[in-house]
Amino acid sequence: MSSLVALFIVAATIVGAIAFGFLVVRKITMSPRELVVGDRSFGPILLCVLFAGEALTSFAFLGVPGWAYAKGAPAFYVLPYSCLGMIVLFAFGPLVWRRARELNCLTNADYFASIYQSDLLGLLVAVCGIFFLVLYITVQLTGIQILLELAGYGSVKNVTAGAIAFFLIMLFVFSTGLRGVAWVSLVKDVLVFGAILFAGAVIPIQFLGSPLHLFTRLRETYPDWLTLRSGTMPNGTVWFVSTVLVNGFGALTWPHAVAGAIYSAKDEASIRRNAMIVPFYILILVFVLLAGFSALLLMPGLKGDDTDQSFMRVVQTHYPAWVLGAMAGAGCLAALVPCSAMMLAAGSLFARNIVAIFSRSFAEKEGTALIRISVVIVSTLAFVSWATARGTLVSMLLVATNGATQFLPGILLSFRSRRPPALSIGTGLVVSLLFLCWTAAIRLPVVSGINVGLAALLLNFLVVGVVTLAASKRQPAEVADREQV
């Protein structure tokens, strides 16, 4: 009975939010630009909910409290990394926006292809981008599955319910595009804020006296939980700083973040203002950490993947079904809405940078329809790979999160007046990704304490430098030519 109540509330939340999105975005003339980047018309508020939406995915709902539960202080990295992302966005976002508008770019791969004048580089960036996004979408799918199982008190075991939610949101992004996603993000954030405040403030106050008493209790029971280990030890300070750096730069490199928070802006000031608002938004993650710590004190003993369910288990045990339903509903939205932004980014990469290589005229004539169909193709691909090979995907996940940052050299070097050749950017990308795949294969998350993502990034910059030098030695005439300009 209580599982019915909870699941009904979850369904109502999802359907309600999507219906709201449809209502707001009814009469819009659709074009590829409207679909993918909202016609470059978003002010700071829509940018903020789109971007901060990134900070509030199912990872914030399950993964971060799970880390606080299982590891303690290493989970704190979500605070500085999001801040770093905003600083990077503040400094470089407007530079990217300016060039993207001038060259009429809608995707990350468009940007690489037109800046470095190579469709092949665009293709490479698109293939990598889709691969990363598909992996990231499958993480959200796992999140939805966990939340539905929780809300069903264990009665939901198959993937049907998750599949329905997933394809519902796909249809939604299919018809409304990024503008719809932005408006639904607004609803999602209100609900997620409520859920997180409940988990991070109400639960500790009710069971432990106050959020502050929580830390006193933690010090008694888990004395080393509130500080990092030193130096190069696993999850030590070196790991912490390198992880913050790698993930922070992701704000400038993840294809859906670039489309959603940079290309869609109406002007450069909106991007900078957005970067100043989002840190306040990020503070909500402090409550996520408190929720994870409370769960550790109230329900110790969860192991392995179950730690992800930390505070939701507390809610399931101690609160009525409707509370659990509301929490799980908010959590599902936290997974679905970013998912839809990723579907859109992956679909547009597929349409504009892969299909268009083979037939540019077809891709231009059928622009909007082609992107929509691509969204369906890519989402189905993500779903099928999730349903069939979940175990393998989990081990590939680090390749995706660290891999997305490997677009950084190509983006930073695009600001220079003398740009390296496409070949060097492409080689750097391929070499660093091969390095990441190798580290994933031998299960090596750190190189002498440093997050492999940062090691790969340094390797990437090195390769770009070497290949550029080698190429300029081979064509001295061309370089002399450019130096004159």
């Binding site: 509130l226 990092l228 300070t237 503070l283």
Partner: protein
């Protein structure tokens, strides 16, 4: 090739604004190594966590100052 296009209407960050944006960047990344302590406790929060929360709160102020010192 032409980085100063006719469309670039926005502000350009000055040297001072890069310094101002760089301060929270360093504090949020490398600075963490110096703040990795539990004591002193600030409002009940462990020192490391309060350090991080502090920098989340002041980062916008630094960015605002950086924006102000950008030249038109």
């Amino acid at each position: 090739m032409n980085s100063n296009s006719p469309l670039s209407s926005g502000k350009k960050l000055s040297f001072a604004s890069y310094i101002l944006a760089g301060i929270p960047f360093i504090a949020n990344s490398f600075g963490v190594c110096l703040a990795n302590r539990d004591q002193p406790v600030v409002f009940g929060f462990p020192f490391l966590l309060s350090y991080l929360i502090f920098w989340v709160c002041v980062t916008p102020i630094f960015l605002w100052l950086a924006e102000r010192s950008a030249r038109k």
